[in-house]
Symmetry: D2
Subunit: 302 residues, 4 copies
């Protein structure tokens, strides 16, 4: 299903080269005056450096009266004005390597060859809008993500990297034990971002090589801890320290040089991928990481 969350539920729609992308945000409390400029700034961060330039004008279809939320579902649409479906015409019957063309075809029996359909990064536009609104609702909780490691430059100029995210001001006691642990929820949220391939809290994989006496975060008398190896979450529930996690992104799989594609009848053809693609999409992911974090936290906090 295309919904995320139970209390602040975001249901996105739209194919990369269809008429529009957007979402319905359900569960937003009434009476919040929306800061549209802040939403615009986050959209601008997501668009930064993207070869496809969309104006990303948001059409608010419902849920607002004079810029204030009504408590009813907020629907919005962002038109796909700069879509060039023709670029993809040679891919109508071919599966690109590294993309979801093949798996979508296996699942649905057909796929939208026009720019990845739902699997495209274009869909994240809707998440950024919903996330930017969630950030406002979470105020004064502060969510900041940034690229903390960029893969080395390569001849094909495609690079992966990792994004570190830090949440300040989240009260202790946020999260649920067991299956809806805050850590598990954040992991799912991050792994739902296109190109995400790894997630770790606090000390993460490095913790596997620590001794217990090294790993445990020693108390200060005020309930804070001297270190934060656990990333601010214990037993799935926030402890009042900063929430800290990292997400690994693999490099873009739309290569500039021709690649061997598979056809439905089992032949390999070397094709140039049309369309316009990032060479380093990881630079645009921090705002998406922030958005999914905000939506996740809004589900626990609202």
């Amino acid at each position: 299903m295309n919904s995320y969350g139970t209390r602040y539920r975001v249901t996105t729609y739209g194919e990369s080269h269809g008429l529009a992308v957007g979402a319905i945000i359900d569960g937003c409390p009434a009476g919040h005056r929306v800061d549209f400029e802040a939403i615009g700034r986050d959209l601008e961060r997501r668009r930064h450096g993207a070869p496809r330039q969309e104006e990303d004008r948001i059409e608010w279809l419902s849920g607002l009266l004079d810029g204030v939320t009504l408590g009813t579902p907020i629907a919005f649409a962002i038109r796909n004005r700069d879509a060039r479906s023709d670029d993809y015409e040679n891919l109508r019957n071919a599966f690109r390597p590294g993309h979801a063309d093949y798996t979508y075809h296996r699942k649905y029996g057909l796929h939208d060859h026009r720019g990845g359909g739902r699997a495209s990064a274009r869909e994240t536009t809707a998440r950024v809008v919903a996330g930017a609104l969630a950030k406002q609702l979470l105020h004064p909780v502060d969510i900041r993500a940034e690229v903390d490691h960029l893969g080395p430059e390569r001849p094909d100029d495609t690079r992966g990297g990792t994004v570190a995210c830090r949440v300040l001001g989240l009260p202790s006691g946020t999260g649920e034990p067991l299956f809806a642990k805050l850590s598990a929820s954040l992991a799912a949220a991050m792994m739902s971002i296109p190109s995400a391939i790894g997630f770790e809290m606090g000390a993460g994989f490095a913790a596997a090589d620590m001794a217990g006496s090294e790993f445990i975060d020693r108390w200060n008398p005020d309930g804070t801890t001297q270190t934060n190896h656990c990333g601010g979450i214990q037993g799935g529930i926030s402890n009042g320290m900063p929430i800290e996690f990292r997400v690994a992104f693999h490099p873009v799989v739309s290569l500039p040089s021709p690649v061997e594609c598979l056809t439905a009848d089992g032949h390999l053809h070397t094709l140039s991928l049309g369309g316009r693609h990032d060479r380093c999409q990881v630079l645009r992911t921090p705002v998406i990481v922030e958005a999914m974090t905000a939506i996740t936290l809004a589900n626990f906090k609202l």
Copy 2:
């Protein structure tokens, strides 16, 4: 909430030192003859080397008639026979470092000091039973997890490590795009296991340093790929290759030597942790990783 899954839904119950732990399994199809011995073997793997020895006799309360599933909910109970709550008496008002005592207290206003309550590894017993049944329903899909890296031996003899899991025979087309991606669902499932602190698919964090031309898995004409850097999942949907992922576990936080605990009124006291605890719980986690994988896949496949 204490439920996991929507189609094969497991709702667990029980505190570490209460009367019993167990679960209701909802969504199991009718007509399956249960292999009780296979369930027993998985329980034995979970118990292996644990200082607390429970017989783990399963009492099947409902859902079966002559050993065959009825399609009705399967409830079971495993009594806590070897619980020694007195061991924890000195912890009634203290929060251990590295444990969930403090966060539970902050969330619920009270906590069950007897061995971690719900946050205890004891709860995973119910998951192993539900997972062992799920494996049978998934036949011939094969799920195997093992410790692939153990942290170095330390003076306090507590070690973390990583567990690698590999799923063979899962048909392509399993999973959902976007928010219920198979990768996102597995990430959440794994991060819900006590002590889990990191998750990666296929090449994982190493993929951040790869070039796109190195990362993409090149096609064979039959739809398999020459490498499996994506871990068998593209766009959140299985591609027919083995599903491969790794989970990082931090070392146990119940140290053998006394540690400074925090009291509710803000004092630090050096206490010896009673109870009997693993020194290397990671050795017992592969069967839990398998169980959560099986339950997750059962939710997509049933």
Copy 3:
């Protein structure tokens, strides 16, 4: 929340006098060629005789390629072109009797005075579209509702009535025991329609006065029954006989003559209700009953 269903999930949005109403339909299988004319005919039935005349042109925002479903979420918008919000200006601070103004105000702390906001019958437009599509997916199951009783004509010309619905061709075995009984699901679906105030299956309230020997539906050897007092559902699961139920609708509460309205500060004012309203909205409800039935059945069948 504004979502209905788990497998064929309809999330509606839009206030009566906002920019648009519409929905996202999630879970529609891929590959279905949409019969747009059939959807138009159902919209026409809903609009029949309504004093407010909307063209009800559907803008399909996503989920379709060349008129065929992609398996991705289907979003659509219907603009509110004929909205006259000014008609409601005198109601900005008043609660009409019989309407949801007061309860919305109590719940949200504010209400959209413009024509009932979300509580308006305008929202059912989105349901009718989603239901008309569901009918196509259920083919050859046949769903027919009609007014079977109309309240007597009254001086204020406002009448209630009952609608009878009959579903033919639904296979036996549809439904779930216990809480998601087909009968319970249909009851909830019907009672979610504006003005619905009663629901009964088969013999319904009259069954309270029958003897058991009179009520039970005697078998024919082929598994059909000689009567259908149970309305085609036993233990919450369809038995292959026609599904038969009735829904009671109270008369419209927007009276033509002035009524006493309550203000937020506790005064009563006699006001004329502006806006244009039905005098006998029950005549337009059969298509909504069909739509909610179709959406409900699609959730069991898909």
Copy 4:
């Protein structure tokens, strides 16, 4: 699925003639001291006059410490001590008229012939326990149901009837618009009770014959209304007046005289139904109506 509710979630288990019936209650807040006697009184009301006499001793498996809720899932089991499965031996291959034997068989491919399995009234024991606890959490909201109409006495001594339920003290603003309307949720809850066949709010079916000017509930200046034809709910949300609804129950379908049963291979056999059955089960339903009402309200209020 066998779960009801999202915040106060009750998952029941157990076949009529299996080892036990019971439930897991998830979402009960921590710190509530349970009134076990009140639970026992409700169980006694449910058992009243039943031909099968169970002691109904509740075994609390988890979620409590010294009689106080921990905020963790509350699991309980009630053993089936007085089950006489042999009574049903002649029904192993036959479908009784009016029962769910046939529909279960069509759905699952097999059925539990021992007293109706899950479809039996025995399952409501678990609901009564969960409901009795919910009532305590809702204090001081007061829920009272009683038989307000009993069908006429008949030669076969089986009678249906209707139950009226009244909820006092529920604050205005409880409920959700649209699909999770309080009225829709109550309708589903009531229709999930065995033998329920009709539901109406306030004036109910009689409202179909009222004029709008007769039906609307006129305001008092304090926000109460002079009548309560809407049953205390407008637009799906409570208005602070008593919640009032009625439920119709058909007569028992286990007749004292032999009935024609259908076999799986299409033959009709006249059989005497073994087992011990009520002649007038409607007398025992008020406490179940109260329980389902309480569980439903707990989901809105907690």
